[in-house]
Subunit: 113 residues, 2 copies
Amino acid sequence: MDDTPPSGVADGDAALAAFRRSIDNIDAALIHMLAERFRITQAVGQYKAARDLPAADPAREAAQIARLRRLAQEAQLDPEFGEKFLRFVIEEVIRHHDSAKKSHTSSSSSEVG
Amino acid sequence: MDDTPPSGVADGDAALAAFRRSIDNIDAALIHMLAERFRITQAVGQYKAARDLPAADPAREAAQIARLRRLAQEAQLDPEFGEKFLRFVIEEVIRHHDSAKKSHTSSSSSEVG
């Protein structure tokens, strides 16, 4: 690469690039965590379907939301966002189970974790 | 707690509880990662606003989406979900900057990372 000219803009670009490298690392971690979470909810769905356990568990879901709101607050993240994020992930879990239902007629579950 | 009766259901509950402990650990990690990501995008927003750098960067966003889709695929996560997730997070970053704009009339930015 060229030498960085000692201008404000070039300094800016270097600082911005550093911020972005951190964001990219965090995003990679998030994607891998989400992949692992879906591996587990998939296993839970199969587990429950095999035992005819009820797919949904509203008490569990309420406890998850309350906990994530509290964790978000502790991490200085908007608790509304903590809840919105969990609902976003749950929707995807349901979507996965719906696709599974289409391929396997009788062994699906909408367990959301 | 009572002794666990040696029934199939009780075995089921123990296995389900173990799955759920893993899900809860992953969710806590996700929330803390997201909190850190928003700390950085907030700093980026302030940084760009102070230097009158353009808030949006479509080329950066396209590169992020392509990379997250690739990472998702490698992790056996639906690439569509990888992209949907990034867009969900970006929407929240924009919402943060919009709220910031309301409190500080001239120093906002919709930098999304």
